[in-house]
């Protein structure tokens, strides 16, 4: 089995698994009246998911390029920053601090300019501060959104 086919089989299996869970829950949970429409959806869902999985297993699923190692390597640092910001730092450090750190980290990680230049680090800091200043003005001052405060703002 080639890797391209395997790449389509894995998401096919995941979607099929999800459809199976939805179908099982729709037909077993009570009261039945609450699950009438989910039952209709789940029949179509499981049917299409089965068809999709069969196509993937037969090597007929060709739409979508899947992932390669370089792409995963490129995405990983940004993804980690996103997950840490949303699931931990926003509450622990404070919404604005976490967002500023995330902005600065992503900008620095993906900036094609070499990381050795002090001038470029200062430039990144200034751009982060300016952007977050606009965000603070917009959300905190104009829209008066109350954000979680951690040990910092």
């Amino acid at each position: 089995m080639n890797s391209a086919r395997l790449q389509h089989i894995i998401p096919g299996l995941v979607v099929f698994g999800l459809a199976a869970i939805v179908t099982w829950l729709s037909f077993t949970q009570q009261p039945a009246e609450s699950f009438l429409f989910p039952r209709v959806i789940s029949i179509a869902f499981i049917g299409l998911a089965t068809w999709n999985l069969i196509r993937a297993a037969a090597g007929l699923a060709k739409v979508g390029s899947g992932f390669d190692a370089t792409m995963v390597r490129n995405i990983a640092p940004g993804l980690i920053v996103m997950l840490m910001t949303v699931f931990w730092a926003a509450k622990a450090l404070g919404f604005y601090t976490a967002s500023s750190l995330a902005f600065f980290a992503i900008y620095s990680i993906y900036d094609p300019v070499p990381l050795s230049s002090t001038k470029d680090w200062i430039k990144r800091l200034i751009i982060t501060a300016l952007f977050m200043g606009v965000i603070y003005g917009l959300f905190a001052l104009l829209l008066q959104v109350q954000t979680p405060r951690g040990i910092l703002l």
Binding site: Q29, F45, N74, I75, A90, F103, Y110, I135, L143
Partner: protein, 510 residues
């Protein structure tokens, strides 16, 4: 001519300011490669929460109109379409810019967008009430089938694989059922506390449209190509106006094709631009010059993709079926303000709907004026480094989804849905049908429940949902949309196979 009575609302200071801001902001966002109009409108929705429904819709409408037109700037000057709708514009626009006619191409693009857009909005004004009156005849079973039609049309037409398009629609419909069933008072599919209140449309929209684009920017890594803009020497605007009048054939073809395609749910601007470009080339005596910098190519493509905007809202306002993915996001914007599109929308909310439509008419004119003055400036912003855009969109997405209900749960849902959508997109699934399923799910569910109650008191569900002229027509349309997509998938599969076979035989010969 009822709409004339609601023009006053557009000229209120706040509305006018929002219209100006939405238009200029939309032009800049549209000109920025990687930021689609759908994502731009989705990111703006949280801001409308703090506005009245009319003002919120004015902002979204202005952004919708101008992002489509703004996409032409980067298509012409950078050869990177700002949105899929501007693909055809890049073909001739960039060739014109390269030979020093960038200003001429930009002026023709904005002028033709304006003409197409105004005619499109006029169609919206005159067709919507007619369709709304017709829709008065619909009962719960018909409205249920219409909601399903909306999902199948976008699911089958907006995806490269119709199985995956429909599956995306199913996932969206299922996600819409998560939370409390208000009629029975029971929990449905609540796996974690964050899902107790169900999935709110806005964080979902932001996650599904913005996060995959952020991750797409991450995927390019640190070696981002540096984009060079082309210098734009000045060009007399009156010469462009004269040229546009002389290119009436391309302008008419673009406007008519854009308007018709806009009315068909799910087809969208990308197809409008490409079909208009192709037809304009076929009818042109200078068809060989297309692709080499022919102004008619720009005129046809741009008039079509903006003419599509107004008509795409006709099925949205009357039947809750969006004409394009961005219209689907607008539907979310209407729903969060408590405005349910349908046959009675002009009776219940005339001041909101007519003011919104009128603002789009004025927005088209503003888009031309601002577009002509800010095009070269917008192109500079379009050169903003990808890491700044990725970080900026992420922060906006986090703040936007939090501000709706001031809930971290919404931010978590936004991120999880966004990451999931990015993975699914890599395997051929698309966000538009999923979003439509999410938006239309509760509507379809309510009509299904109401219909089931009526059916139980009458002749049973089979007779109620599957018989009667209108039900049969709607079911036939659902089947036709799926069958058409299946057929076109088969055709494209055969084409790919024959291309592969030719390539293999040539390789063998070599």
């Amino acid at each position: 001519m009822e709409f004339l009575g609601f023009f006053g609302g557009v000229f209120e200071p706040v509305s006018l300011m929002l219209l100006f801001g939405g238009t200029v902001g939309g032009l800049i966002l549209g000109a920025t490669p990687g930021l689609s109009p759908t994502m731009a409108v989705a990111l703006l929705i949280p801001f409308t929460f703090h506005l009245s429904p009319t003002q919120g819709l004015i902002l979204l409408g202005a952004a919708y109109t101008s992002t489509v037109a703004g996409g032409a700037v980067s298509a012409i000057l950078l050869k990177i379409p700002g949105a899929p709708a501007n693909i055809a514009t890049a073909l001739d626009g960039n060739a014109m810019a390269k030979r020093g006619e960038g200003a001429r191409a930009l002026q023709l693009s904005f002028l033709s967008s304006g003409v197409g857009g105004v005619i499109g909005v006029l169609l919206l004004i005159f067709l919507t009430p007619v369709l709304a009156e017709w829709a008065l005849k619909f009962g719960p079973s018909h409205l249920f089938w219409i909601a399903i039609l909306g999902v199948t049309v976008i699911g089958s037409l907006d995806s490269k694989s119709f199985v995956k398009g429909l599956l995306s629609g199913c996932i969206g419909l299922w996600l819409s059922q998560i939370g409390y069933d208000e009629i029975q008072g029971t929990e449905r599919f609540i796996f974690t506390d964050a899902l107790t209140g169900g999935i709110h449309i806005i964080p979902a929209l932001i996650g599904l449209f913005a996060i995959p684009q952020v991750m797409e920017m991450f995927a390019k890594g640190r070696n981002q190509a540096v984009i060079d803009t082309i210098d734009v020497p000045r060009y007399a605007i009156f010469d462009s106006i004269r040229e546009l009048i002389q290119s009436m054939r391309a302008l008419s073809i673009g406007t008519v094709i854009g308007s018709v395609i806009g009315l068909i749910p799910g087809v969208g601007g990308q197809i409008a631009g490409l079909v208009a470009y192709d037809q304009s080339r076929k009818f042109s005596p200078k068809r060989d010059e297309f692709g080499k910098g022919h102004p008619e190519g720009v005129i046809a493509a741009e008039s079509a993709n903006n003419a599509m905007v107004g008509p795409s809202l006709v099925p949205l306002l009357t039947l809750s079926i969006p004409g394009s993915p961005t219209a689907a996001v607008l539907l979310g914007g209407l729903l969060i303000h408590g405005i349910f599109p349908g046959s009675d929308i002009f009776d219940k909310h005339p001041e909101v709907v007519w003011t919104f439509i009128n603002s789009m008419l004025l927005g088209q004119i503003l888009m031309v004026v601002f577009g002509l003055y800010t095009a070269a400036w917008a192109a500079r912003i379009a050169k903003a480094p990808v890491p700044i855009m990725a970080a900026g969109v992420l922060v906006l997405a986090v703040f936007g989804s939090y501000s709706v209900q001031q809930s971290m749960g919404d931010v978590h849902i936004m991120l999880v849905l966004g990451i999931g959508m990015f993975v699914l997109e890599k395997f051929g699934f698309s966000a538009a049908p999923l979003v439509l399923g999410l938006i239309l799910g509760p509507i379809a569910g309510d009509y299904f429940t109401n219909g089931s109650m009526i059916a139980a008191a009458q002749d049973g569900p089979w007779v109620y949902f599957f018989t009667g002229e209108l039900n049969i027509v709607l079911i036939a349309l659902v089947i036709a949309s799926i069958a058409y997509s299946f057929w076109s998938n088969m055709l494209s599969g055969k084409k790919e196979k024959s291309v592969d076979a030719v390539a293999a035989s040539e390789e063998a010969k070599a």
